[in-house]
């Protein structure tokens, strides 16, 4: 009777390449059914849940109109009718973007949308709002007109007064234009992408279950229900 020693290489799992590791980690963190779900929970059928996607719609218009303005240049947006039109589209899309984002922020703040392990969703949203502000303000100094010159000299004084003048020279058009059309938009889009992926991962935050909480308090013993500590405020699982 003879026996063959097993090949030690055959018993070891093959080493995974970094692409396989990244793929497996990605699918584990965000399975396809979560990334692109069939539907949303019933409670999402409310106007207050519409302002996040309204912000994204405005952002798409901002990027599209801004790309056209960048392609055509200042003479086009100052001296032609169609240039004025796209300049206005760009401005009003920004106004709508901030309008929708503020209402979205209020809705999510009063909903305590960091509940249920959603702290990173809240943080990425808040940071997006903060980064979007200088992204918009650098647009005012990128207009290439007297208005931009006036704003840049006023803003330069503001930057100097807070000690940031060594880092941001508002009268340097090249620097401000680079911030406005490249660095800050890339940051905003990256943050919005992370925000949306985190929403997909954790699900849309449910509303407070006030009715169930009131019923639970009404049926509970008075001594046990006064503080409401037995009621969940997480809103339950996603349907």
């Amino acid at each position: 009777m003879s026996s063959v020693a097993p090949d030690p290489r055959a018993t070891q799992a093959p080493e995974k390449s970094w692409t396989v590791k990244v793929r497996e980690a990605g699918v584990a963190a965000l399975p396809p059914e979560k990334l692109l779900p069939d539907g949303q929970p019933t409670y999402v059928a409310s106007w207050i849940y519409m302002f996040g996607v309204a912000s994204i719609a405005a952002l798409i218009v901002i990027i599209t109109s801004g790309s056209i303005l960048a392609l055509k240049g200042p003479a086009w947006w100052h001296y032609t009718g169609i240039g004025h039109f796209f300049n206005s589209i760009h401005l009003w899309a920004v106004e709508l973007f901030f309008f929708a984002m503020v209402v979205h922020l209020w809705g999510k703040f009063w909903m305590a949308s960091w509940r249920g392990g959603r702290s990173r969703v809240w943080i990425t949203g808040a940071v997006t709002f903060l980064v979007a502000i200088p992204c918009a303000l650098t647009g005012y100094v990128s207009q290439q007109n007297f208005d931009a010159q006036w704003i840049s000299t006023q803003a330069k004084d503001a930057m100097n007064s807070i000690g940031a003048g060594a880092f941001f020279n508002l009268t340097n058009f090249g620097q401000m234009y680079s911030y406005h059309v490249l660095l800050l938009p890339v940051a905003v889009v990256a943050l919005v992408s992370a925000h949306v992926l985190l929403v997909r991962k954790h699900g849309v935050v449910p509303p407070f279950e006030l009715e169930q909480r009131k019923a639970a308090l009404a049926t509970a013993a008075p001594s046990a229900g006064q503080d409401g500590s037995s009621a969940s405020t997480d809103g339950g699982a996603q349907s």
């Binding site: 539907g39 019933t42 059928a45 409310s46 106007w47 207050i48 519409m50 302002f51 009718g81 106004e95 309008f99 503020v102 209402v103 209020w106 809705g107 349907s239």
Partner: protein
């Protein structure tokens, strides 16, 4: 070329109260945001009632 709907050839109108100093345009926008926020909460969403009813019956939503 069509002129501006509003005459903008003057300093901005402002709302001043103690240390608060806001342009009228910004006050209008803040008011509109508050109005839209309240309306978004109180106005019914189209189809929300039927979705809730279907959920109550146990249908797939």
């Amino acid at each position: 070329m069509m002129g501006a709907v509003f005459n903008l050839n003057h300093p901005a109108h402002t709302v001043d109260w103690e240390f608060i100093h806001l342009s009228l345009a910004n006050v209008v926008v803040i008011g509109l945001m508050l109005l839209v926020f309240v309306l978004a909460i109180v106005l019914p969403f189209p189809g929300a009632a039927s979705r809730q009813a279907a959920r109550g019956r146990g249908d797939a939503s």
